[in-house]
Protein backbone atom coordinates (compact mmCIF):
# COMPACT_ATOMS: atom_id res chain seq x y z
CA UNK A 1 0.00 0.00 0.00
CA UNK A 2 2.77 2.45 0.84
CA UNK A 3 4.38 1.71 -2.49
CA UNK A 4 1.23 2.90 -4.19
CA UNK A 5 1.02 6.16 -2.30
CA UNK A 6 0.92 9.23 -4.47
CA UNK A 7 2.99 11.60 -2.38
CA UNK A 8 1.86 15.22 -2.75
CA UNK A 9 3.38 16.69 0.39
CA UNK A 10 6.71 17.74 -1.08
CA UNK A 11 6.75 21.05 0.79
CA UNK A 12 6.96 19.06 4.02
CA UNK A 13 9.83 16.95 2.75
CA UNK A 14 10.79 15.06 -0.38
CA UNK A 15 11.87 11.56 -1.24
CA UNK A 16 15.65 11.29 -1.63
CA UNK A 17 16.85 11.01 -5.23
CA UNK A 18 18.88 7.81 -5.72
CA UNK A 19 21.60 9.77 -7.50
CA UNK A 20 22.01 11.88 -4.36
CA UNK A 21 22.44 8.78 -2.24
CA UNK A 22 25.00 7.48 -4.70
CA UNK A 23 27.01 10.69 -4.45
CA UNK A 24 26.91 10.52 -0.65
CA UNK A 25 27.84 6.87 -0.23
CA UNK A 26 31.65 7.12 -0.59
CA UNK A 27 31.71 9.61 2.29
CA UNK A 28 30.16 7.10 4.66
CA UNK A 29 32.36 4.12 3.79
CA UNK A 30 35.54 5.32 2.08
CA UNK A 31 36.33 8.94 2.75
CA UNK A 32 34.81 8.88 6.22
CA UNK A 33 37.45 10.91 8.05
CA UNK A 34 36.76 14.34 9.52
CA UNK A 35 37.81 17.27 7.38
CA UNK A 36 41.31 18.07 8.54
CA UNK A 37 43.39 21.14 7.78
CA UNK A 38 45.58 21.03 4.70
CA UNK A 39 48.37 19.72 6.95
CA UNK A 40 46.35 16.71 8.15
CA UNK A 41 46.45 13.13 6.87
CA UNK A 42 45.40 12.28 3.36
CA UNK A 43 41.96 10.82 4.14
CA UNK A 44 41.12 14.01 6.04
CA UNK A 45 42.42 16.22 3.25
CA UNK A 46 40.25 14.32 0.80
CA UNK A 47 37.26 14.87 3.07
CA UNK A 48 38.12 18.57 3.34
CA UNK A 49 38.25 18.82 -0.45
CA UNK A 50 34.87 17.15 -0.80
CA UNK A 51 33.37 19.57 1.71
CA UNK A 52 34.91 22.56 -0.05
CA UNK A 53 33.71 21.33 -3.43
CA UNK A 54 30.14 20.97 -2.12
CA UNK A 55 30.36 24.42 -0.57
CA UNK A 56 31.59 25.81 -3.88
CA UNK A 57 28.70 24.29 -5.83
CA UNK A 58 26.03 25.61 -3.46
CA UNK A 59 27.64 29.05 -3.10
CA UNK A 60 27.83 29.39 -6.88
CA UNK A 61 24.14 28.56 -7.09
CA UNK A 62 23.50 31.63 -4.91
CA UNK A 63 26.07 33.88 -6.59
CA UNK A 64 28.05 33.84 -3.34
CA UNK A 65 31.69 33.21 -2.45
CA UNK A 66 32.34 29.74 -0.94
CA UNK A 67 33.44 31.21 2.40
CA UNK A 68 30.07 32.95 2.69
CA UNK A 69 28.25 29.64 3.08
CA UNK A 70 27.92 27.93 6.45
CA UNK A 71 26.63 24.36 6.57
CA UNK A 72 24.05 23.61 9.27
CA UNK A 73 21.68 20.82 10.25
CA UNK A 74 18.83 22.36 8.27
CA UNK A 75 16.55 25.38 7.92
CA UNK A 76 15.70 25.47 11.60
CA UNK A 77 19.30 25.81 12.62
CA UNK A 78 20.12 28.22 9.78
CA UNK A 79 17.37 30.63 10.79
CA UNK A 80 18.26 30.28 14.48
CA UNK A 81 21.84 31.18 13.59
CA UNK A 82 20.72 34.15 11.50
CA UNK A 83 18.44 35.67 14.11
CA UNK A 84 20.23 34.73 17.32
CA UNK A 85 23.65 35.26 15.78
CA UNK A 86 22.86 38.84 14.74
CA UNK A 87 21.11 39.48 18.06
CA UNK A 88 24.25 38.32 19.88
CA UNK A 89 26.49 40.50 17.74
CA UNK A 90 24.39 43.67 17.72
CA UNK A 91 22.06 43.35 20.73
CA UNK A 92 24.44 45.21 23.00
CA UNK A 93 25.41 47.76 20.38
CA UNK A 94 23.06 48.91 17.63
CA UNK A 95 19.83 47.99 19.33
CA UNK A 96 17.35 45.30 20.29
CA UNK A 97 14.63 45.63 17.66
CA UNK A 98 13.76 43.09 14.95
CA UNK A 99 11.16 43.13 12.21
CA UNK A 100 9.54 40.07 10.64
CA UNK A 101 6.18 38.88 9.26
CA UNK A 102 3.31 37.03 10.87
CA UNK A 103 3.43 34.19 8.36
CA UNK A 104 7.04 33.03 8.71
CA UNK A 105 7.64 29.33 9.17
CA UNK A 106 8.36 28.12 12.71
CA UNK A 107 12.17 28.51 12.63
CA UNK A 108 11.92 32.28 12.20
CA UNK A 109 8.55 32.71 13.96
CA UNK A 110 9.56 30.95 17.15
CA UNK A 111 13.14 32.21 17.19
CA UNK A 112 11.77 35.77 17.03
CA UNK A 113 9.33 34.89 19.83
CA UNK A 114 12.22 33.47 21.89
CA UNK A 115 14.17 36.70 21.41
CA UNK A 116 11.09 38.63 22.47
CA UNK A 117 11.06 36.71 25.73
CA UNK A 118 14.68 37.71 26.21
CA UNK A 119 13.84 41.39 26.00
CA UNK A 120 14.20 42.06 22.30
CA UNK A 121 11.39 43.94 20.65
CA UNK A 122 9.80 42.46 17.52
CA UNK A 123 7.56 44.22 15.03
CA UNK A 124 5.27 41.68 13.35
CA UNK A 125 4.31 42.75 9.84
CA UNK A 126 0.86 41.94 8.51
CA UNK A 127 0.37 40.55 5.02
CA UNK A 128 -2.45 41.11 2.56
CA UNK A 129 -5.06 38.58 1.44
CA UNK A 130 -2.61 37.00 -1.00
CA UNK A 131 0.07 36.76 1.65
CA UNK A 132 2.19 39.65 0.39
CA UNK A 133 4.04 42.07 2.65
CA UNK A 134 3.59 45.74 1.82
CA UNK A 135 7.07 47.27 1.17
CA UNK A 136 5.81 50.57 2.60
CA UNK A 137 4.96 48.82 5.85
CA UNK A 138 8.47 47.38 5.90
CA UNK A 139 9.95 50.84 5.41
CA UNK A 140 7.78 52.27 8.18
CA UNK A 141 8.77 49.51 10.62
CA UNK A 142 12.53 49.98 10.33
CA UNK A 143 14.15 52.15 13.04
CA UNK A 144 17.55 53.37 14.18
CA UNK A 145 17.79 50.48 16.62
CA UNK A 146 16.54 47.78 14.22
CA UNK A 147 19.21 45.10 13.96
CA UNK A 148 17.54 42.66 11.59
CA UNK A 149 14.68 42.37 9.13
CA UNK A 150 13.61 38.81 8.31
CA UNK A 151 11.16 38.23 5.46
CA UNK A 152 10.70 34.79 3.93
CA UNK A 153 11.22 34.44 0.19
CA UNK A 154 8.23 32.12 -0.16
CA UNK A 155 5.65 30.81 2.21
CA UNK A 156 5.67 27.19 3.35
CA UNK A 157 1.90 26.72 3.21
CA UNK A 158 0.43 29.01 0.58
CA UNK A 159 3.53 29.39 -1.62
CA UNK A 160 3.31 33.20 -1.94
CA UNK A 161 6.60 34.72 -3.08
CA UNK A 162 7.68 38.08 -1.62
CA UNK A 163 9.45 40.76 -3.63
CA UNK A 164 12.76 40.37 -1.80
CA UNK A 165 14.56 42.73 -4.21
CA UNK A 166 12.27 45.61 -3.25
CA UNK A 167 12.55 44.72 0.42
CA UNK A 168 16.35 44.40 0.21
CA UNK A 169 16.56 47.90 -1.23
CA UNK A 170 14.54 49.26 1.68
CA UNK A 171 16.69 47.43 4.23
CA UNK A 172 19.87 48.59 2.54
CA UNK A 173 18.77 52.22 2.50
CA UNK A 174 17.87 52.00 6.18
CA UNK A 175 21.19 50.28 7.07
CA UNK A 176 19.37 47.24 8.39
CA UNK A 177 20.51 43.66 7.78
CA UNK A 178 18.10 41.45 5.84
CA UNK A 179 17.58 37.72 6.35
CA UNK A 180 15.37 35.67 4.08
CA UNK A 181 14.20 32.09 4.53
CA UNK A 182 14.56 30.54 1.07
CA UNK A 183 13.79 26.97 2.16
CA UNK A 184 11.03 26.68 -0.44
CA UNK A 185 12.70 28.62 -3.26
CA UNK A 186 16.37 27.63 -3.39
CA UNK A 187 16.92 26.19 -6.91
CA UNK A 188 13.17 26.45 -7.59
CA UNK A 189 13.44 30.20 -8.24
CA UNK A 190 16.56 32.11 -9.27
CA UNK A 191 18.54 33.56 -6.36
CA UNK A 192 21.62 35.67 -6.90
CA UNK A 193 22.98 37.61 -3.94
CA UNK A 194 26.00 39.04 -5.77
CA UNK A 195 24.38 42.13 -7.23
CA UNK A 196 25.33 41.11 -10.75
CA UNK A 197 21.69 40.94 -11.82
CA UNK A 198 22.17 37.32 -12.86
CA UNK A 199 18.81 36.15 -11.53
CA UNK A 200 16.95 38.04 -14.22
CA UNK A 201 18.41 35.84 -16.93
CA UNK A 202 19.59 32.79 -15.04
CA UNK A 203 16.31 30.99 -15.13
CA UNK A 204 15.65 28.85 -12.13
CA UNK A 205 19.26 28.58 -11.16
CA UNK A 206 21.11 26.28 -13.50
CA UNK A 207 21.82 29.03 -15.97
CA UNK A 208 22.05 27.01 -19.13
CA UNK A 209 18.65 28.12 -20.39
CA UNK A 210 17.89 31.81 -20.46
CA UNK A 211 14.38 32.43 -19.18
CA UNK A 212 12.75 35.80 -19.20
CA UNK A 213 9.04 35.21 -19.44
CA UNK A 214 7.11 35.99 -16.26
CA UNK A 215 5.95 32.37 -16.08
CA UNK A 216 9.52 31.18 -15.78
CA UNK A 217 9.75 32.53 -12.29
CA UNK A 218 12.61 34.87 -13.12
CA UNK A 219 10.55 37.85 -11.99
CA UNK A 220 10.01 36.13 -8.64
CA UNK A 221 13.69 35.59 -7.98
CA UNK A 222 16.20 37.46 -5.85
CA UNK A 223 18.86 39.62 -7.52
CA UNK A 224 17.16 40.60 -10.74
CA UNK A 225 18.86 43.96 -11.24
CA UNK A 226 22.53 44.72 -11.57
CA UNK A 227 23.99 46.60 -8.64
CA UNK A 228 20.88 46.14 -6.51
CA UNK A 229 21.49 45.15 -2.90
CA UNK A 230 20.62 41.59 -1.91
CA UNK A 231 19.86 39.89 1.37
CA UNK A 232 22.70 39.54 3.89
CA UNK A 233 21.58 36.17 5.21
CA UNK A 234 19.75 33.38 3.37
CA UNK A 235 18.45 30.12 4.83
CA UNK A 236 18.48 27.11 2.48
CA UNK A 237 17.75 23.43 2.96
CA UNK A 238 18.49 20.11 1.22
CA UNK A 239 15.47 17.97 2.07
CA UNK A 240 12.98 20.12 0.15
CA UNK A 241 14.81 19.39 -3.14
CA UNK A 242 15.21 15.60 -2.92
CA UNK A 243 18.39 15.92 -0.87
CA UNK A 244 19.13 14.41 2.53
CA UNK A 245 17.31 15.47 5.68
CA UNK A 246 19.31 17.18 8.42
CA UNK A 247 21.38 19.31 6.06
CA UNK A 248 21.03 23.00 5.37
CA UNK A 249 23.11 26.10 5.03
CA UNK A 250 23.11 29.77 5.83
CA UNK A 251 24.50 32.28 3.39
CA UNK A 252 26.27 34.98 5.40
CA UNK A 253 27.41 38.00 3.40
CA UNK A 254 31.05 38.83 3.98
CA UNK A 255 31.51 41.12 7.01
CA UNK A 256 27.99 40.65 8.34
CA UNK A 257 28.05 41.16 12.12
CA UNK A 258 27.07 37.74 13.48
CA UNK A 259 28.26 35.47 16.28
CA UNK A 260 27.83 31.79 16.77
CA UNK A 261 25.24 30.86 19.38
CA UNK A 262 26.02 27.15 19.75
CA UNK A 263 29.42 26.73 21.38
CA UNK A 264 31.98 24.10 20.52
CA UNK A 265 34.72 23.75 17.94
CA UNK A 266 35.83 26.25 15.34
CA UNK A 267 34.29 24.66 12.26
CA UNK A 268 32.48 26.51 9.49
CA UNK A 269 34.41 29.79 9.78
CA UNK A 270 33.79 29.69 13.51
CA UNK A 271 30.06 30.16 13.03
CA UNK A 272 28.82 26.58 13.44
CA UNK A 273 30.48 24.23 15.88
CA UNK A 274 30.48 20.47 15.38
CA UNK A 275 32.06 17.84 13.16
CA UNK A 276 31.07 18.58 9.59
CA UNK A 277 28.50 16.33 7.92
CA UNK A 278 30.43 15.65 4.75
CA UNK A 279 28.06 13.08 3.19
CA UNK A 280 25.26 15.54 3.90
CA UNK A 281 27.08 18.46 2.30
CA UNK A 282 27.97 16.36 -0.73
CA UNK A 283 24.34 15.18 -0.97
CA UNK A 284 23.05 18.75 -0.72
CA UNK A 285 25.30 19.85 -3.59
CA UNK A 286 24.29 16.83 -5.67
CA UNK A 287 20.60 17.54 -5.02
CA UNK A 288 20.97 21.18 -6.05
CA UNK A 289 22.71 20.10 -9.22
CA UNK A 290 19.81 17.89 -10.21
CA UNK A 291 17.22 20.69 -10.18
CA UNK A 292 16.91 22.16 -13.64
CA UNK A 293 14.83 24.98 -15.10
CA UNK A 294 13.05 22.32 -17.13
CA UNK A 295 11.99 20.48 -13.98
CA UNK A 296 10.72 23.72 -12.46
CA UNK A 297 8.67 24.37 -15.60
CA UNK A 298 7.19 20.90 -15.25
CA UNK A 299 6.26 21.47 -11.60
CA UNK A 300 4.67 24.78 -12.53
CA UNK A 301 2.53 22.96 -15.09
CA UNK A 302 1.40 20.41 -12.48
CA UNK A 303 0.59 23.21 -10.04
CA UNK A 304 -1.37 25.19 -12.61
CA UNK A 305 -3.35 22.18 -13.69
CA UNK A 306 -4.23 21.35 -10.12
CA UNK A 307 -5.33 24.89 -9.38
CA UNK A 308 -7.31 25.22 -12.61
CA UNK A 309 -9.12 21.94 -12.00
CA UNK A 310 -9.74 22.45 -8.28
CA UNK A 311 -11.03 25.99 -8.72
CA UNK A 312 -12.86 25.26 -11.96
CA UNK A 313 -14.41 21.86 -11.30
CA UNK A 314 -15.00 21.64 -7.56
CA UNK A 315 -17.65 24.14 -6.45
CA UNK A 316 -17.11 26.44 -3.44
CA UNK A 317 -13.34 26.22 -3.64
CA UNK A 318 -11.08 29.21 -3.10
CA UNK A 319 -7.39 29.78 -3.71
CA UNK A 320 -5.02 30.37 -0.82
CA UNK A 321 -2.02 32.48 -1.72
CA UNK A 322 -1.24 34.50 -4.83
CA UNK A 323 -2.19 33.06 -8.21
CA UNK A 324 1.04 33.92 -10.02
CA UNK A 325 3.48 35.06 -7.34
CA UNK A 326 3.83 31.54 -5.98
CA UNK A 327 6.43 28.79 -5.92
CA UNK A 328 6.33 26.28 -8.80
CA UNK A 329 5.61 23.36 -6.47
CA UNK A 330 2.79 24.70 -4.28
CA UNK A 331 -0.99 24.62 -4.70
CA UNK A 332 -3.24 25.43 -1.75
CA UNK A 333 -7.02 25.74 -1.76
CA UNK A 334 -9.90 25.76 0.71
CA UNK A 335 -12.83 23.43 0.09
CA UNK A 336 -15.58 25.22 1.97
CA UNK A 337 -18.13 23.49 4.27
CA UNK A 338 -15.81 20.56 4.95
CA UNK A 339 -12.98 19.95 7.38
CA UNK A 340 -9.37 19.37 6.33
CA UNK A 341 -8.51 16.34 8.45
CA UNK A 342 -11.55 14.52 7.08
CA UNK A 343 -10.38 15.33 3.56
CA UNK A 344 -6.78 14.25 4.13
CA UNK A 345 -7.85 11.02 5.83
CA UNK A 346 -10.27 10.18 3.01
CA UNK A 347 -7.55 10.94 0.45
CA UNK A 348 -5.08 8.87 2.47
CA UNK A 349 -7.45 5.90 2.28
CA UNK A 350 -7.43 6.37 -1.48
CA UNK A 351 -3.62 6.49 -1.57
CA UNK A 352 -2.85 10.22 -1.62
CA UNK A 353 -0.69 12.06 0.91
CA UNK A 354 -1.55 15.75 1.28
CA UNK A 355 -1.70 18.15 4.22
CA UNK A 356 -4.12 20.68 5.68
CA UNK A 357 -4.02 23.84 7.78
CA UNK A 358 -6.97 22.64 9.85
CA UNK A 359 -6.55 22.71 13.62
CA UNK A 360 -7.74 19.10 13.80
CA UNK A 361 -4.72 17.95 11.79
CA UNK A 362 -2.08 19.69 13.88
CA UNK A 363 -0.41 18.46 17.02
CA UNK A 364 -1.21 21.68 18.82
CA UNK A 365 -4.87 21.78 17.70
CA UNK A 366 -4.11 25.28 16.49
CA UNK A 367 -5.28 26.40 13.08
CA UNK A 368 -2.71 27.58 10.58
CA UNK A 369 -1.16 30.92 11.53
CA UNK A 370 -0.58 31.51 7.84
CA UNK A 371 -4.25 31.29 6.87
CA UNK A 372 -5.24 33.53 9.76
CA UNK A 373 -2.34 35.79 8.73
CA UNK A 374 -3.89 36.33 5.30
CA UNK A 375 -7.11 37.37 7.00
CA UNK A 376 -8.79 34.00 6.68
CA UNK A 377 -11.09 33.00 9.51
CA UNK A 378 -11.00 29.63 11.15
CA UNK A 379 -13.40 28.28 8.54
CA UNK A 380 -10.91 29.02 5.75
CA UNK A 381 -8.11 27.22 7.56
CA UNK A 382 -10.48 24.38 8.50
CA UNK A 383 -10.95 23.24 4.90
CA UNK A 384 -7.55 24.24 3.49
CA UNK A 385 -5.54 21.59 1.68
CA UNK A 386 -1.98 21.90 0.40
CA UNK A 387 -0.89 19.88 -2.61
CA UNK A 388 2.86 20.20 -3.16
CA UNK A 389 4.74 18.64 -6.02
CA UNK A 390 8.14 17.11 -6.57
CA UNK A 391 10.32 15.31 -9.07
CA UNK A 392 8.44 12.03 -8.81
CA UNK A 393 4.96 13.40 -9.54
CA UNK A 394 3.29 13.26 -12.93
CA UNK A 395 0.37 14.94 -14.66
CA UNK A 396 -1.53 11.69 -14.12
CA UNK A 397 -1.08 12.13 -10.35
CA UNK A 398 -2.73 15.53 -10.62
CA UNK A 399 -5.68 14.18 -12.57
CA UNK A 400 -6.10 11.30 -10.14
CA UNK A 401 -5.96 13.43 -7.02
CA UNK A 402 -8.41 15.93 -8.48
CA UNK A 403 -10.85 13.15 -9.27
CA UNK A 404 -10.48 11.73 -5.77
CA UNK A 405 -10.73 15.15 -4.10
CA UNK A 406 -13.90 16.01 -6.00
CA UNK A 407 -15.45 12.76 -4.79
CA UNK A 408 -14.29 13.12 -1.20
CA UNK A 409 -15.40 16.73 -0.93
CA UNK A 410 -18.83 15.88 -2.36
CA UNK A 411 -19.18 13.00 0.10
CA UNK A 412 -18.26 15.09 3.10
CA UNK A 413 -20.50 17.93 1.98
CA UNK A 414 -23.37 15.50 1.84
CA UNK A 415 -23.13 15.12 5.62
CA UNK A 416 -22.21 18.75 6.40
CA UNK A 417 -24.87 20.99 7.95
CA UNK A 418 -23.28 23.99 6.22
CA UNK A 419 -23.17 22.83 2.64
CA UNK A 420 -25.80 24.45 0.41
CA UNK A 421 -28.42 21.92 -0.64
CA UNK A 422 -28.50 21.39 -4.36
Amino acid sequence: MFGETTYLDNSATTRLDERVLEAMQPYFFETYAVATSEFGYSLGIEAREALDAARGVLAARLGAAPEELVFTSGSTESSNLALKGVALALGGKKGRHLVTTRIEDFPVLNTARALERQGFEVTWLDVDGDGLVDPDAVRAALRQDTILLSVQHANQEIGTVQDIDAIAKIAYDAHVLLHTDATHTFTRLPIDVSGSGAAASAGAGAGEEGETSPESGADLGIGRREGAPGPDLVTISAHTIHGPRGVGALYVRDRTPIRKWMDGGFQEYDLRAGVEDIPGAVGFAAAAGLVTPKENERLRALRDRLLDCALGEIPHTTLNGHRTRRTPQNANVTFHFVEGESITLQLDMRGFAVSTGSACFSKSLEASHVISGIGGDHERAHGSVRFSFGRFNSMEDVDNVIEAAAEVVAQLRAISPLAPKD
Binding site: E339, G340, C360, L365, D377, H378, P417
Partner: protein, 212 residues
Protein backbone atom coordinates in the same frame (compact mmCIF):
# COMPACT_ATOMS: atom_id res chain seq x y z
CA UNK B 1 1.00 -2.11 6.30
CA UNK B 2 -0.73 1.18 6.04
CA UNK B 3 -1.01 3.09 9.27
CA UNK B 4 -4.05 5.27 9.74
CA UNK B 5 -4.44 7.56 12.74
CA UNK B 6 -7.64 5.78 13.91
CA UNK B 7 -8.71 2.20 14.55
CA UNK B 8 -10.87 0.17 12.17
CA UNK B 9 -14.18 0.81 13.93
CA UNK B 10 -13.65 4.57 13.88
CA UNK B 11 -12.61 4.44 10.24
CA UNK B 12 -15.68 2.42 9.34
CA UNK B 13 -18.02 4.93 11.00
CA UNK B 14 -16.06 7.75 9.39
CA UNK B 15 -16.34 6.21 5.93
CA UNK B 16 -19.96 5.16 6.28
CA UNK B 17 -21.55 7.21 9.05
CA UNK B 18 -24.96 6.04 10.30
CA UNK B 19 -28.03 8.26 10.78
CA UNK B 20 -26.83 11.12 8.61
CA UNK B 21 -29.19 13.92 7.67
CA UNK B 22 -31.81 16.18 9.10
CA UNK B 23 -35.29 15.15 10.28
CA UNK B 24 -37.98 17.38 8.86
CA UNK B 25 -40.37 18.69 11.47
CA UNK B 26 -38.12 17.43 14.22
CA UNK B 27 -39.34 17.46 17.82
CA UNK B 28 -35.98 18.61 19.09
CA UNK B 29 -32.94 20.05 17.36
CA UNK B 30 -29.63 21.57 18.21
CA UNK B 31 -26.48 22.89 16.61
CA UNK B 32 -23.26 22.75 18.59
CA UNK B 33 -20.06 24.53 17.67
CA UNK B 34 -19.81 27.22 15.06
CA UNK B 35 -18.26 27.36 11.61
CA UNK B 36 -16.28 30.49 12.45
CA UNK B 37 -14.46 28.59 15.13
CA UNK B 38 -14.11 24.93 14.34
CA UNK B 39 -16.14 21.78 14.14
CA UNK B 40 -19.91 21.89 14.08
CA UNK B 41 -22.57 19.25 14.64
CA UNK B 42 -26.33 19.37 14.18
CA UNK B 43 -28.67 16.82 15.80
CA UNK B 44 -32.40 16.39 15.17
CA UNK B 45 -34.67 13.98 17.06
CA UNK B 46 -38.17 12.60 16.77
CA UNK B 47 -39.71 11.69 20.13
CA UNK B 48 -42.52 9.24 20.96
CA UNK B 49 -44.44 11.38 23.49
CA UNK B 50 -46.13 8.38 25.17
CA UNK B 51 -43.06 6.28 25.78
CA UNK B 52 -40.77 9.30 26.00
CA UNK B 53 -38.28 7.54 23.74
CA UNK B 54 -36.17 8.68 20.83
CA UNK B 55 -37.87 7.25 17.76
CA UNK B 56 -35.58 8.69 15.18
CA UNK B 57 -32.35 10.63 15.30
CA UNK B 58 -30.12 12.16 12.63
CA UNK B 59 -26.93 14.18 12.65
CA UNK B 60 -24.82 16.27 10.33
CA UNK B 61 -21.16 17.11 10.81
CA UNK B 62 -18.76 19.76 9.66
CA UNK B 63 -15.80 18.23 11.36
CA UNK B 64 -12.88 15.88 11.50
CA UNK B 65 -12.93 12.08 11.45
CA UNK B 66 -13.47 11.64 15.19
CA UNK B 67 -16.29 14.17 15.12
CA UNK B 68 -18.05 12.30 12.31
CA UNK B 69 -17.47 8.87 13.90
CA UNK B 70 -18.77 10.07 17.27
CA UNK B 71 -21.87 11.55 15.64
CA UNK B 72 -22.48 8.20 13.99
CA UNK B 73 -22.08 6.10 17.16
CA UNK B 74 -23.89 8.50 19.47
CA UNK B 75 -26.97 8.47 17.28
CA UNK B 76 -26.83 4.66 17.20
CA UNK B 77 -26.63 4.60 21.00
CA UNK B 78 -29.46 7.09 21.55
CA UNK B 79 -31.95 5.57 19.13
CA UNK B 80 -34.77 3.82 20.99
CA UNK B 81 -33.61 4.97 24.40
CA UNK B 82 -35.77 7.03 26.78
CA UNK B 83 -34.83 10.69 27.00
CA UNK B 84 -33.39 10.19 30.48
CA UNK B 85 -31.28 7.26 29.32
CA UNK B 86 -30.13 9.10 26.22
CA UNK B 87 -29.06 12.10 28.29
CA UNK B 88 -26.64 9.89 30.15
CA UNK B 89 -24.82 8.73 27.02
CA UNK B 90 -21.35 10.18 27.47
CA UNK B 91 -18.28 10.83 25.41
CA UNK B 92 -16.68 7.95 27.27
CA UNK B 93 -19.47 5.59 26.16
CA UNK B 94 -19.01 6.73 22.59
CA UNK B 95 -15.25 6.34 22.80
CA UNK B 96 -15.55 2.84 24.29
CA UNK B 97 -18.06 1.79 21.65
CA UNK B 98 -15.65 3.01 19.00
CA UNK B 99 -12.77 1.01 20.46
CA UNK B 100 -11.02 4.10 21.76
CA UNK B 101 -10.57 7.64 20.47
CA UNK B 102 -7.34 9.62 20.82
CA UNK B 103 -7.71 11.79 23.97
CA UNK B 104 -6.48 14.85 22.06
CA UNK B 105 -9.58 14.49 19.90
CA UNK B 106 -11.95 14.65 22.86
CA UNK B 107 -12.54 18.29 22.06
CA UNK B 108 -13.82 17.61 18.54
CA UNK B 109 -15.82 14.51 19.35
CA UNK B 110 -17.49 15.74 22.54
CA UNK B 111 -19.46 18.16 20.34
CA UNK B 112 -21.62 15.32 19.08
CA UNK B 113 -22.49 14.30 22.64
CA UNK B 114 -23.36 17.88 23.47
CA UNK B 115 -25.45 18.04 20.32
CA UNK B 116 -27.49 15.06 21.49
CA UNK B 117 -28.05 16.52 24.97
CA UNK B 118 -28.92 19.92 23.53
CA UNK B 119 -31.47 18.39 21.15
CA UNK B 120 -33.13 16.60 24.08
CA UNK B 121 -33.09 19.81 26.14
CA UNK B 122 -34.63 21.64 23.22
CA UNK B 123 -37.44 19.09 23.10
CA UNK B 124 -38.00 19.36 26.86
CA UNK B 125 -38.01 23.15 26.84
CA UNK B 126 -40.47 23.26 23.98
CA UNK B 127 -42.77 20.88 25.78
CA UNK B 128 -42.48 22.40 29.25
CA UNK B 129 -40.70 19.40 30.65
CA UNK B 130 -37.83 21.28 32.26
CA UNK B 131 -38.22 20.88 35.99
CA UNK B 132 -34.83 21.24 37.58
CA UNK B 133 -33.91 24.88 37.83
CA UNK B 134 -30.62 25.19 39.55
CA UNK B 135 -29.40 28.73 40.11
CA UNK B 136 -26.61 29.79 37.80
CA UNK B 137 -23.17 30.03 39.36
CA UNK B 138 -19.85 31.34 38.06
CA UNK B 139 -18.92 27.72 37.55
CA UNK B 140 -21.91 27.13 35.25
CA UNK B 141 -20.94 30.22 33.29
CA UNK B 142 -17.33 29.20 32.98
CA UNK B 143 -18.38 25.75 31.84
CA UNK B 144 -20.44 27.31 29.07
CA UNK B 145 -17.65 29.72 28.14
CA UNK B 146 -15.48 26.68 27.49
CA UNK B 147 -17.68 26.09 24.47
CA UNK B 148 -16.89 29.48 23.00
CA UNK B 149 -14.05 29.16 20.54
CA UNK B 150 -11.15 31.48 20.03
CA UNK B 151 -10.98 31.44 16.24
CA UNK B 152 -7.36 32.53 16.31
CA UNK B 153 -6.33 29.31 18.00
CA UNK B 154 -9.12 26.84 17.37
CA UNK B 155 -9.33 26.35 21.14
CA UNK B 156 -11.85 27.71 23.62
CA UNK B 157 -11.54 31.20 25.06
CA UNK B 158 -11.01 29.97 28.62
CA UNK B 159 -8.13 27.72 27.71
CA UNK B 160 -6.50 30.41 25.60
CA UNK B 161 -6.72 32.95 28.44
CA UNK B 162 -8.99 35.35 26.59
CA UNK B 163 -11.44 35.54 29.49
CA UNK B 164 -10.14 38.13 31.89
CA UNK B 165 -13.02 38.13 34.37
CA UNK B 166 -16.59 36.92 34.85
CA UNK B 167 -19.24 38.29 37.20
CA UNK B 168 -22.91 37.50 37.79
CA UNK B 169 -25.08 39.89 39.75
CA UNK B 170 -28.80 40.61 39.65
CA UNK B 171 -29.35 38.53 36.53
CA UNK B 172 -26.57 40.27 34.64
CA UNK B 173 -23.57 38.32 33.45
CA UNK B 174 -20.51 40.40 32.65
CA UNK B 175 -17.62 38.84 30.75
CA UNK B 176 -14.42 40.78 30.13
CA UNK B 177 -12.49 39.55 27.10
CA UNK B 178 -8.81 40.33 26.71
CA UNK B 179 -9.01 41.50 23.11
CA UNK B 180 -9.25 44.75 21.23
CA UNK B 181 -12.84 45.66 20.37
CA UNK B 182 -11.77 46.30 16.78
CA UNK B 183 -10.26 42.86 16.46
CA UNK B 184 -11.59 40.89 13.48
CA UNK B 185 -13.03 38.16 15.72
CA UNK B 186 -14.28 40.38 18.57
CA UNK B 187 -17.85 40.48 17.31
CA UNK B 188 -18.00 36.77 16.56
CA UNK B 189 -16.77 35.94 20.05
CA UNK B 190 -19.23 38.39 21.63
CA UNK B 191 -22.17 36.83 19.78
CA UNK B 192 -20.99 33.37 20.63
CA UNK B 193 -20.75 34.20 24.34
CA UNK B 194 -24.25 35.67 24.38
CA UNK B 195 -25.60 32.65 22.53
CA UNK B 196 -24.15 30.27 25.08
CA UNK B 197 -25.05 32.17 28.27
CA UNK B 198 -28.44 33.71 27.46
CA UNK B 199 -30.42 30.44 27.56
CA UNK B 200 -29.66 30.08 31.30
CA UNK B 201 -33.06 30.61 32.94
CA UNK B 202 -32.00 33.16 35.55
CA UNK B 203 -29.80 35.24 33.24
CA UNK B 204 -31.49 38.38 31.97
CA UNK B 205 -28.65 40.12 30.26
CA UNK B 206 -25.19 39.23 28.98
CA UNK B 207 -22.62 42.02 28.75
CA UNK B 208 -19.36 41.45 26.95
CA UNK B 209 -16.58 43.96 27.40
CA UNK B 210 -13.28 44.17 25.61
CA UNK B 211 -10.11 45.40 27.23
CA UNK B 212 -8.74 47.21 24.18
Amino acid sequence: MTKFPYNEIVLEHFKHPHNVGEIEEADGKAIEGSPACGDMVSVTIKVDPDKNTIDDIKFQSYGCASNIATGSIITDLARGKTLDEAKKVSWKDASEELGGLPPIKAHCSVLAVEGLRAAIRDYEERNGLVTEREPTTLKTIEKRLKHVMNPLMGLDIVRTDLVKSVSFEGGIVKVVVDLDESHQFAQAIKNDIAEKIEPLWDVELVEVEFTG
